[in-house]
Amino acid sequence: MAQLSLRGVRKNFRNVEVLRGIDLEIHDRELVVFVGPSGCGKSTLLRLIAGLDDISEGEFTLNGRSMLNVPPSKRDIAMVFQSYALYPHMNVYENMAFGARLMGLSKDEVQKRIDETAATLQLGPLLQRKPRELSGGQRQRVAIGRALVRKPAVFLLDEPLSNLDAALRSEVRLEIAKLHNDIGGTMIYVTHDQVEAMTLADRIVVLRDGVIEQVGTPRELYETPANAFVGTFIGSPRMSLLKAVRDGDRFGVAGSGAVLLPEAPETGATVTLGIRPDAMALAPAGDADGFEAEFEYAEYLGNEAYIYARLGDGTRISLQGDTKALTHRPGDAVRLRPNPAEIHYFDSETGRSFRRT
């Protein structure tokens, strides 16, 4: 059982404000992912929850109990570090037993828990090895095992996949998802990779410059981003942003003509259109509808292709295309036809989303 609550949490390092008022509720058995660009404060927030750094201002409670003056080891929280941070002088068994013994568990209980964990993570044959004798993926599993043995209320994972190669990364990602399913603990996971966030999270917290931009399920963030930043951060290839001028239901882009978008919400005269690669398509040859653009190049991926084109005002657009229709050459004039139902409308000034009513 773990219910975390952060209210008005701020963190300063000397004069630099790293977190500027975080309000967040994390529910029991939830897998929450903190995501955002480098320097957004996501790792700092994790360290505050762990207790490794002190909160400058605000309140943090775990199951209703304030954690402000509780040392990290007494918070019932375990953490998996980016570099794994295994004790190099202890073998795998000792690495896992160290924290468990310090919790005051009996020798038999420690042994039992390590046996269980080793079985779950297939660490059995590695128990007597030193960390330097393990591969990256094995070290990662030991680091997770070390956290599991303590049976904490909350697991914190700080970019746990970033030191693994691409093939191993998706494999371990799956293992973590499965682990969360099996043990059912509350997990907080930090990453800068939106794919990891989308695939793992029950809910995603998007951070930028020390503030939360949006909290929601992967679907909510993808389908209804609160602002242009979230829109472009979630989804790959990223959402294209078009500066448009509105005239009734017609939206014009400088140098590319205008298109009719009948279902648009109330906006000002200038608006930023957010268009995902799958929300726009190349118009068939001879079709006069759509934005005029210049074909730049295409990335052929086998089952699909990503097409890059440039609008009249210089904005680059990416769209998902059919591999069979790839007949254009760089420099060709093409027309891009957006799907009105899937367009996002953002305030040109603030970036905030205009919702359809």
Binding site: R47, A50, L52, P71, P72, S73, K74, I77, A78, M79, F81, Q82, S83, A85, L86, Y87, P88, H89, F98, G99, L102, K130, R132, R146, R150
Partner: protein, 321 residues
């Protein structure tokens, strides 16, 4: 050297490019020869000659007959020489253990405090190391003045704060002389282990310390179970160098208490005894190059064997971080 033949195919022209290539080699040789000569002349030659001298009977500086192990037998087992040898050796051992606790122990504590970045750490980092760069001669001389029974700063200070009853002729009292020397040595050298331990502490990855803090809030457990094993390489350096330094101890006692290890041999150590025996002094009168050499050889062997064995043992418990 064979003369070049007419068609030019001979060994001489073939050598010319090799000579040109070895210009670099020549330069390296030119740079290497002086230090090698100096090493050979002043380090290797004396060691081997001392080894040889130790097996001869000496009359002043004139070499007499080959006497086998007689000189060794004298310094180790024949009275009164043996008593002096063992007394000096006993003092060396005491100095070593005392400095292990005071100098290295304090060094570790200071390093830990500096590492934790307590207020004023930057200033103290320099202050602690400052005496290390001072000449031992100056340190010895200044502290000898401080310890002066009547005018010395130590006794004056004790009197000034009302502890005059504790004032004592520090270097003349059999109970305090060696301790005073050990104190001065620790004061002067504590910066060295401090710096070595500090370097070791700074090498520990911060995430490992964070991981440990997630599992224990006891600083003692953290130090004992995580930090100390991870700075084992620093400990090896401090321990072994202190061992060698303690059994080679000479300058500080020589300057502060003289060659005799006064009072009554209470501060006598092997270094002093060796020097007196080999080169003589006014009070002892005796001078025996053969016995002196035997002492030097024994010291060398003892230090080399123990230091090597210990280093091997200490290196085993080190791990790569």
């Amino acid at each position: 050297m064979p003369a070049p033949t007419l068609n030019g195919i001979s060994r001489t022209p073939a050598r010319t490019p090799r000579l040109r290539v070895s210009g670099r080699g020549l330069w390296i040789t030119f740079l290497l020869v002086p230090p090698v000569v100096v090493m050979a002349l002043f380090v290797i030659y004396p060691i081997f000659s001392a080894l040889a001298y130790a097996f001869y009977d000496w009359q002043g500086l004139a070499r007499g007959d080959f006497v086998g192990f007689a000189n060794f037998e004298k310094v180790l087992f024949q009275q009164p020489f043996a008593a002096t040898t063992w007394n000096a050796f006993k003092n060396n051992i005491f100095v070593f253990f005392a400095l292990m606790i005071i100098q290295n122990g304090l060094g570790f504590i200071l390093a830990y405090a500096l590492w934790r970045d307590l207020p004023g750490a930057r200033f103290h980092r320099i202050a602690v190391f400052l005496p290390v760069v001072l000449s031992t001669v100056i340190i010895g001389y200044v502290w000898k003045l401080f310890f002066h029974p009547i005018f010395g700063a130590v006794n004056q200070l004790l009197k000034a704060v009302g502890l005059g009853s504790l004032a004592t002729p520090w270097l003349g009292d059999a109970d305090t002389a060696l301790n005073a020397l050990i104190f001065v040595n620790a004061w002067a050298w504590v910066g060295f282990p401090t710096l070595v331990f500090l370097a070791g502490l700074q090498r520990i990855p911060s995430e490992i310390l964070d991981a440990a803090r997630m599992e224990t809030d006891s600083e003692l457990t953290l130090i004992r179970r995580v930090i100390w094993p991870l700075i084992a390489p620093s400990a090896t350096v401090c321990f072994v160098l202190l061992f060698i330094g303690s059994f080679n101890w000479f300058e500080l006692p020589y300057i502060m208490v003289g060659l005799d290890g006064s009072p009554y041999g209470n501060t006598d150590v092997l270094g002093l005894y060796f020097y007196r025996t080999a080169f003589g002094n006014q009070s002892a009168g005796i001078q025996d190059f053969g016995m002196g050499s035997a002492l030097a050889v024994l010291m060398f062997l003892f230090i080399a064997v123990v230091a090597t064995t210990w280093t091997i043992y200490l290196r085993k418990r080190e791990i790569e971080v």
